[in-house]
């Protein structure tokens, strides 16, 4: 039996995820730092005017520069710098004078056999990102670099190992990337996923990237280590690659942490290495070990000149900064009178529906009810085009008891389709406010029809009563064709039982 099987884990409330060894009783925590590469949403590539476009015919978006042809020279795309600065400022980074450097290594998807990146003087340094749960994750740097082409492995298994040969498409070569290097402040697999969610929201809000993990425009590598809780030293880490979804990210971190605890509990050591996540097998595997440490021979790229953004440019970027997710959550939460950590608030901002919600609240709609609809009933295409005044009106009708929750959901669906006002839709559908005396009469009639059940309801235990409550509500709904408000029915039943008791 392996040591891992002797371990139990319990997610602890909040940010910590620990693994407790049954054998030793030691409690381990996970330390994760994420490196995110995102492709910037520019029209053209980083250093040439070829289209920056995903999914085109192979080797069509190429020119002498991005093919690294002899004699070609790079010229920096202004929009890349602007987007990188905007992203950096959104991550509370300091924007510094920076230079480009060449990272030298041979690889066939890299046309010049060096990558132009930023090394010792990156554009953005020392920022942070606040997660919705209040955790602050440090950002070490967010620098500009160029993407590589794409290798397709042919023959053999179709994967790199065992392939007979490979085919190279350079459409992606030279696409602008920002690499965001997060500090190891993450302690939980779920938190890692939240970090990516939040970062993606920032990338979308700033227009820096479309941030699609499935298309590879957002790529995540995780540096994972473990240590005994309370130990100030960081453990030796492994870099996990090939994380193609948030699900993979969470699973890989959890697997890798257990693997490392297992090793350490058995008196072995963790080898610092790159490992690949195998989603099918649900495990990480070591990469091909290198015979020697890489020596990238970084030096300043002589074909480019330094960037010195200066105070004015940075101020202009700050002045044009769109509202960011954290601020948007605060605004919405304040307007709705709830906490910014409420799921509905987080979801509203993630779905870009916070402006709609705010407008509906401003038009007199009840905050909680508005958020309830946003969270549960508006996860549909085109929801952002809903008329906020109509939305507010709907919520007001609901609060006034003119519509039941079920009816309100139906009306909302119709509003999205037809654009009509909620009162008109309610009238068309025959959703009429039911007078409370009318409802009482119907409930009394049903009680009279079912004396045995009623006796049982009044005298039975809680479990039995719960079942029978469903029975009576169901009958009332049937009798009213669903127009009765379930809450009101329950209140009447309760009042009658008390009177009978």
């Amino acid at each position: 039996m392996s040591a891992v099987e002797n371990l139990t884990h319990q997610p602890v409330e909040g940010e910590h995820f620990t693994i407790t060894s049954e054998a030793t009783g030691d409690v381990w925590e996970i330390v994760v730092g994420l490196e995110v590469h995102c492709e910037l949403a520019t029209a053209t590539k980083l250093f040439c005017s070829c289209p920056n476009m995903f999914g085109d015919e192979p080797n069509t978006n190429v020119c002498p520069v991005c093919l690294g042809l002899p004699g070609s020279l790079p010229v920096l795309n202004r929009n890349v710098v602007e987007l990188a600065m905007r992203l950096g400022r959104a991550l509370h980074c300091s924007v510094e004078p920076s230079v480009f450097a060449r990272k030298n290594y041979f690889y066939p998807d890299m046309p010049k056999d060096y990558q132009v990146s930023q090394f010792d003087r990156p554009i953005n340094v020392d920022g942070w990102l606040d997660l919705p749960d209040g955790t602050r994750v440090g950002i070490e740097r967010a620098h500009i670099e160029e993407d590589t082409g794409k290798n397709t492995h042919a023959g053999g298994s179709g994967r790199i190992h065992g392939a007979d040969y490979s085919l190279v498409d350079y459409n992606r070569a030279g696409v602008p990337l920002v690499e965001i290097v997060g500090r190891p402040h993450i302690r939980h697999p779920e938190q890692a996923k939240t970090y990516i969610d939040e970062l993606r929201a920032i990338l979308l809000a700033t227009g820096a990237s479309d941030a699609k993990m499935e298309e590879g425009s957002l790529r995540v590598d995780a540096n994972v280590s473990v240590r005994r809780v309370g130990d100030p030293e960081l453990g030796r880490r492994c870099e996990i690659k090939n994380l193609n979804s948030l699900r993979s990210l969470g699973r890989a971190i959890e697997y890798e942490a257990r693997r490392q605890v297992d090793l350490l509990e058995s008196g072995e050591v963790v080898k610092q290495e790159t490992r690949h996540w195998d989603e099918g097998a649900g495990r990480t595997r070591p990469g091909r070990s290198k015979e020697e440490a890489e020596d990238y021979r970084y030096f300043q790229e002589p074909d480019l000149v330094p960037l010195d953004p200066g105070a004015d440019w940075i101020a202009a970027i700050d002045g044009a900064m769109p509202a960011l997710p954290a601020a948007r959550r605060d605004t919405l939460a304040a307007a709705a009178g709830v906490a910014p950590t409420e799921t509905a608030v987080v979801v509203a901002v993630q779905r870009d529906l916070d402006q709609l919600a705010l407008a509906a609240i401003a038009a007199g709609g009840d905050g909680s009810r508005v958020l309830l609809h946003v969270e549960h009933n508006l996860a549909v295409e085109g929801a952002e085009s809903l008329d906020p005044a109509h939305f507010a009106q709907l919520v007001t009708m609901e609060v006034a008891g003119q519509l039941t929750a079920t009816q309100a959901k139906t009306v909302l669906g119709d509003m999205l389709e037809s654009g009509k006002a909620p009162d008109a839709i309610a009238a068309e559908r025959g959703f009429e406010a039911m007078d409370s005396s009318e409802l009482e009469g119907i409930v009394d009639g049903i009680i009279a029809e079912s004396p045995d059940e009623w006796a049982d309801y009044c005298g039975g235990d809680d479990k039995r009563r719960g079942k029978l409550q469903g029975f009576f509500v169901g009958k009332v709904m049937k009798a009213t064709k669903g127009q009765a408000d379930g809450k009101a029915v329950n209140a009447i039943l309760d009042a009658r039982r008390t009177a009978a008791g």
Binding site: P64, L69, G71, R102, K112, Y114, D303
Partner: protein
């Protein structure tokens, strides 16, 4: 046939005025190539058919009343490290054999737009690494003044083509002296402009922070004409200076009255052949006689120039030449894996000198050595720039030999890299500083071979430099004049 004009200035004027046709001029030069190219080997490729078509097009424009431009009908040779669309561009390396670029270098476009007629691609030391053209994969170029001697390098083909009368003007590239040194050894004018004055787009890179394209010609005026045509901002080169090309032809007759010219002490002593030093002193005297003030000046850091250069240039080259990996163009030597194919291709495709410099540069940048070598060399570069700055506080121009010796014989230095590198001792400092410099022929050495004197100027000081060059040209002794 009436006597044809020989200089670019005269040819362009005669063609533009209809006195001669571009085709006539071209035919005369193709005849000169036919007569002596077998012996000289200045060209990797002669573009006779393309040149005839281009010359005919120039003549057609003249006939139609158009002005084809300031280089109308002037035959021109291009160093074979300048990209020419659809025309093989080899850098005199096996690794690029057969490669046809899908684009023209900016300078190639500019000379064509100015009406010049490209007659061929000239030989060079492989990837411009060398000082004798002996490192060409396609055999050395010979010095037209004495075919037992080297023409210098790396732009030996471009220098020899002009010296042999194959074309009145040519373009070369200068990373550590590769225009000025062969110009001196072949007895022609050669100019390295201010870094950033001429676009590098389409120049196959050797060392990006040092490379500059510049002209060769038989007269100072022709170099001025060609430099005016190719200089000026290019948005495709981030290191291109954003200002218009300087006016040079207009200032050539202004003389040197009142100019302060400094003879660089460090470049006149040890290692400089006495006959060469004597010609430089004679040139200094000639400038003084023409009205300049001449004094001696020390530029101490220049003595570290060679060491710094032979760390910086190979470091950049080791990265610039990584792309020759057998994947996208040029040579491939097959092997079972990509890494082995890369190595087999590079091993077969590069010559000894290129391998030497790639390894030297790789070493200078590698972990554990960067600070001691490459990092130090960059700091020396700062010292050299400071020392030049101090010198230019007191002088408008500096003067030195271009090359420590006249043209040497084949095989003399090729197996001793360090002694070959010492050829560049006078030219390297200006590359490190990014300043302009040019070589002007000034008589012969004791062996009867040409001597070049070097004029150096601060950044963008071309106009003043050309004024002094014109004065030197006027005062220069002929090659036949016995060495005093």
């Amino acid at each position: 046939m009436a006597e044809l004009p020989t200089t670019a200035v005269e040819i362009a004027a005669a063609v533009r005025s209809g006195q001669v046709t571009a085709v006539e001029v071209l035919d005369a030069h193709l005849a000169a190539i036919d007569a002596r190219e077998g012996e000289i080997n200045a060209f990797n490729l002669v573009l006779a058919d393309e040149a005839r078509a281009a010359a005919a097009a120039v003549d057609a424009r003249i006939a139609a009343g158009d002005d084809p431009g300031p280089l109308a009908g002037v035959p021109l040779a291009l160093k074979d490290n300048l990209c020419t669309r659809g025309v093989p561009t080899t850098c005199s390396s096996r690794i690029l054999e057969g490669w046809r670029p899908p684009y023209d270098a900016t300078v190639v476009q500019r000379v064509a737009a100015a009406g010049a007629v490209a007659v061929g691609k000239t030989n060079l030391d492989e990837f411009a690494m060398g000082s004798s053209t002996e490192n060409s994969a396609f055999g050395p170029t010979r010095n037209p003044r004495d075919t037992a001697r080297v023409p210098g390098g790396s732009s030996g083909g471009s220098a020899a083509a002009v010296a042999a009368g194959f074309a009145p003007i040519s373009l070369g590239s200068d990373t550590g002296g590769s225009i000025r040194q062969p110009a001196a050894l072949c007895g022609v004018v050669g100019v390295k402009p201010t870094y950033g004055l001429v676009s590098r787009y389409g120049l196959v890179a050797f060392a990006s922070s040092l490379d500059q394209i510049g002209p060769f010609s038989t007269t100072v005026a022709d170099s001025a004409l060609l430099l005016e045509a190719v200089a000026g901002h290019d948005p495709l080169d981030s290191t291109s200076i954003d200002q218009a090309a300087p006016s040079l032809l207009d200032v050539l007759d202004r003389g040197v009255e009142g100019l302060r010219i400094g003879l660089v002490t460090e470049l006149m002593g040890e290692g400089i052949a006495p006959d060469v030093a004597a010609r430089v002193r004679q040139a200094a005297a000639a400038l003084e006689a023409a009205g300049a003030t001449v004094g001696e000046v020390s530029v101490p850091a220049t003595s570290y120039g060679l060491s710094a250069y032979y760390l910086i240039a190979p470091a950049e080259a080791s990265s610039n030449l990584a792309r020759y990996d057998g994947v996208r163009y040029g040579l491939r030597v097959d092997a079972p894996t990509t890494a082995e194919m890369n190595a087999a291709t590079r091993t077969a495709g590069f010559g000894d000198e290129v391998k030497r410099r790639i390894m030297l540069g790789t070493y200078a940048l590698s972990a554990g050595y960067y600070d001691a070598y490459y990092g130090k060399a960059l700091k020396v570069r700062t010292l050299i720039m400071r020392d030049f700055e101090a010198a230019y506080e007191h002088f408008d121009l500096l003067l030195s030999p271009t090359s420590p010796t006249t043209a040497f014989r084949f095989g003399e230095k090729v197996d001793d890299p360090l002694s070959m590198y010492l050829n560049d001792i006078c030219t390297i400092p200006t590359n490190l500083a990014g300043h302009p410099a040019m070589s002007v022929p000034f008589g012969a050495g004791a062996d009867g071979m040409p001597v070049g004197v070097q004029l150096m100027a601060p950044a963008l000081g071309e106009a003043t430099m050309f004024r002094a060059a014109a004065s030197l040209e006027a005062a220069a002794p002929s090659l036949e004049e016995a060495f005093a």
